[in-house]
């Protein structure tokens, strides 16, 4: 009996050895555990899942976008044909493109729902103001993703919508004409416009969005999730736990309700 248990323990240790190896050298396992099993208020509900839903929509856009980039040709003479090729010939191409095309709208809609939730719950207030600011920076980047992606199918709708969009930018006072010229890659819409939008759409903007989402999540983990406004444990009615010490947070969690400083 005892020998069997020992064998079981030994097998468990062997199976977990790679994780231990990783943990000892990077602390990643603990970090992931901390991220997944961190404490949240007891009365969080479905409204609090909108941020994760937005993140999921973005990850879907990333995945499908990478696959679409394998087949898409950012050249005025072949862009339209390559999209038709993806839709009609490539296996499951219609599905991937459909997910990317509709997922774009889902992403934007979820962003607005998430923003409305944060606003109406007052979750942007102290100490989470910076996270609201990061979110406000993410919003126009997401809208620009939509705008730059709209040109890529290069059909009549895409072309003229982009002409109109760029010219709306051009009517901004003072620097508008330069902004329009920058977006066009010159005085007129030409071959450079498409590759420019393609580069913005799949390199610059996603990179910026990934960076800001990382910061966004870091702040969520560091500051914790806010209670809903109807919560019994809402802040402002005699706070029992002072905010954690400086230096604790993602890396060095402080136990809840325990003050570190002795003075």
């Amino acid at each position: 009996m005892a020998g069997k248990r020992d064998r079981k323990e030994q097998m468990k240790a062997t199976a977990l050895y790679p994780l231990d190896w990783l943990e000892e050298r990077s602390g990643l396992v603990g970090g992931v555990k901390y991220f997944l099993f961190r404490k949240v208020p007891g009365d969080t509900d479905w409204w609090h899942t909108l941020g994760s839903a937005t993140l999921t929509a973005f990850l879907v856009q990333l995945g499908t976008g990478v696959i679409l980039a394998m087949y898409y040709k950012p050249d005025p003479n072949s862009a339209y044909e390559s999209v038709q090729h993806i839709n009609n010939d490539v296996t499951f191409g219609w599905l991937i493109r459909g997910m990317h095309r509709w997922g774009a709208s889902v992403f934007i809609i979820l962003i607005f729902f998430h923003m409305a939730r944060v606003f109406l719950f007052g979750a942007y207030k102290y100490p989470r103001e910076l996270n609201w600011i990061v979110g406000v920076l993410l919003l126009p980047l997401a809208l620009l993703e939509g705008f730059s992606g709209y040109l890529l199918p290069y059909d009549q709708t895409a072309y003229w919508a982009t002409v109109v969009g760029i010219n709306i930018n051009g009517t901004a006072p003072f620097l508008g004409p330069y902004l329009a010229s920058f977006l066009r890659g010159g005085a007129e819409i030409g071959p450079e416009t498409l590759s420019r939008f393609y580069s913005l759409h799949m390199l610059l903007l996603p990179g910026a969005i990934i960076g800001l989402i990382t910061l966004h999540l870091y702040l969520v983990v560091r500051l914790g999730v806010s209670s809903p406004p109807w919560s019994k444990e809402a802040a402002g009615r005699g706070r029992e736990e002072p905010p954690p010490d400086r230096g604790s947070g993602l890396v060095k969690p402080s136990p809840r309700g325990v003050t570190r400083r002795p003075d």
Partner: protein, 309 residues
């Protein structure tokens, strides 16, 4: 009770207001790069001046402390005290301070050397002139007097179909023994959609020819109701003047030339308004600006600078 963050700690004013002047100087340089070199010089002067004042303000406290330490060191008894207290301020390690500054400074220089060409590469097209050859539209005998023709052609044949443009051309006959043409761009002056003639097009009399401007097609039309834009409903009369809808000015026009009995189009220019009609029209002509931008009236002051076209 432990004091909370932000409580019991007076909010100190920023140590210096000179950064504002510094920022104005930088703005002056950037604007000057677009407008004129003297403005850059003024901006550089402001930047250096306010930068110096800023640095002087920021370092004032530490310079005073240096002085204080030296004075304290003069006393025999306080010398040891100063020696033990000084390392906390970091003033006793000017070499590490120097190395820190040197690392940051060199890093900034290297970063600048890399960033400037990259950003320049991305925004260069904004400041480059694009040169177009004259567009050859074939013999002027193809243009019947008094009739509008929808002409499509390539402005830059080497770049292909994407440079295909459309113009409405009307032969106004001769004035003072010189041929006169009205050449309207079809680009709507609202937001750049392609306008359409309000009237029948005569496809059966379509002329297709190959010239230096690629495949040039001429389709006669009778725009009895002028021209209209499908996007947001802008309407123009036969001279290109706006009659209804959101456009802010008249349709743009092309300069034209007669070369060996053939019609050639030159640069495009913007038009505020056309008075009169046909060969005797008086055209209020401006340099080409983007759709939606006013070229006259007080609104033109919103667009004092135009990138080269």
């Amino acid at each position: 009770m432990e004091p909370q963050q932000g409580q019991g700690k007076p909010h100190l004013p920023p140590p210096s207001l000179w950064p504002i002047g510094f920022a104005i100087g930088v703005v002056c340089i950037l604007v000057g790069l677009v407008v004129s070199w003297p403005a850059v010089a003024v901006g550089a002067g402001l930047t250096i001046l306010f930068g110096f004042l800023w640095v002087r303000d920021v370092t004032a406290a530490s310079r005073r402390r240096d002085l204080g330490t030296e004075l304290a060191a003069g006393g025999a008894e306080s010398a040891t005290e100063a020696a033990t207290a000084a390392p906390e301020t970091g003033d006793r390690f000017p070499r590490s301070t120097f190395l820190e500054g040197a690392t940051l400074g060199l890093g900034a220089v290297i970063g600048g050397i890399i960033t400037v060409p990259i950003v320049g590469f991305a925004i260069a097209p904004v400041f480059q002139h694009t040169h177009h050859d004259e567009v050859d539209l074939g013999p002027i005998t193809n243009f019947k007097e008094g009739e509008f023709v929808i002409s499509t052609f390539l402005v830059n044949p080497s770049e292909g179909e994407i440079t295909r443009r459309t113009a409405y051309i009307r032969n106004n006959g001769f004035i003072l023994n010189k041929p006169s043409f009205t050449v309207l761009s079809n680009r709507c002056a609202h937001l750049g959609c392609p306008t359409q003639p309000n009237g029948p097009m005569f496809d059966n009399r379509k002329i297709e020819q190959k010239t230096a401007a690629g495949d040039v097609t001429l389709i006669p039309t009778l725009p009895a109701g002028g021209f209209g834009c499908p996007c947001h409903g802008g309407q123009y009369d036969q001279e290109g003047n706006r009659t209804a809808g959101p456009p802010v000015r008249a349709l743009d026009r092309y300069e034209f030339y007669i070369r060996n009995g053939r019609l050639a189009l030159g640069k495009t220019y913007s038009v505020a308004e056309v008075i009169g009609a046909g060969a005797s029209a008086r055209i209020k002509k401006y340099r080409l600006t983007g759709p939606g931008q006013h070229v006259d009236g007080p609104e033109q002051w919103f667009y004092p600078l135009q990138p080269p076209s």
